[in-house]
Symmetry: C2
Subunit: 206 residues, 2 copies
Amino acid sequence: MTAVLKPKDENVVWHQHSIDKAFRSNLKSQKPAVLWFTGLSGSGKSTVAGALENRLAQLGYHTYLLDGDNVRHGLCSDLGFSEQDRRENIRRIGELAKLMADAGLIVLSAFISPHQAERQLVRDLLPEGEFLEVFVNTPLEVCEQRDPKGLYKKARAGEIPNFTGISSAYEAPQNPEIDLPAGEKTLDELVELCIDALEKRNILAN
Amino acid sequence: MTAVLKPKDENVVWHQHSIDKAFRSNLKSQKPAVLWFTGLSGSGKSTVAGALENRLAQLGYHTYLLDGDNVRHGLCSDLGFSEQDRRENIRRIGELAKLMADAGLIVLSAFISPHQAERQLVRDLLPEGEFLEVFVNTPLEVCEQRDPKGLYKKARAGEIPNFTGISSAYEAPQNPEIDLPAGEKTLDELVELCIDALEKRNILAN
């Protein structure tokens, strides 16, 4: 029973952590990154992130898209919408994105994430250059006019407390890596802007 | 401003969710799975899981290993070691593993996870056949003899409350997909047993 858990050949040095981020990224022929989409409700975060994931995946990149659908019902199902819970929600998503980047993936996330401090917290989790803030910069008037889920109407009627842009502040990114004029462009054009920016930053090959 | 977020060609049907688990798995030429290692402290969970990940990655499979090192300091850094917190810890790891499998990865996890109910909870998160319980079946005496971190000694001295196997129950898997006699085999042999089992279950190509 004494030889257990030892390689047969003792001369083989066993590196438990030899499969690391670099190995997993190389296997995927890509650089890991976290593309953090932020913007008002109705700004088009999920739509643009989804279209970009589609484009990247078609090009052969290994991606994953985090959004309310796959996070709120599972990992964060114990959280509500208080300030504290919303902060914890973003913290967990940041840690999740970090692990997925560690797995070598290009991660896209689409959450309002209205506070500068929480976005900075996620940025600080990742190595320099791996976190890219993507500001889906659609004016409030346009978002409210679209109002795809009728939430602005309810918020204006006072039925939703702390609604970002109406009764709660949205702190716009001061220096986002990608600034998308999402009120003025088509979806194809917005995806193209993202692709160009990712190529310029050497996340994608030219 | 009305054409925003629409594809230029309205005849192009835009499927936001066309990049799904099947697409991401096919891109990696593999079937996603969660290999859930369970066993006593000192049983060899992390060592076997690490060695298996190494082998799988060398074979070109896309993997990720979840363990205390990368989870407890990040995603679950707010949790302690009370029964409730330990349960929440496993729940989050289960949800995390599910998302990573959704990304098309072969996920390995190495946590004591002593309770049948919590392992069942994770199993129930995943499609039939995608969760594989790997019982690192090392007798308590062997684990205690190894005592790599000196924890059993402290537990016997009453310095660690609720220590699994000493003052807290370990509920052994009743019907694990893989049962590893880890007190009697070398590391290479244990990895080989895992590979064989994964081939038989068509997780890996023969």
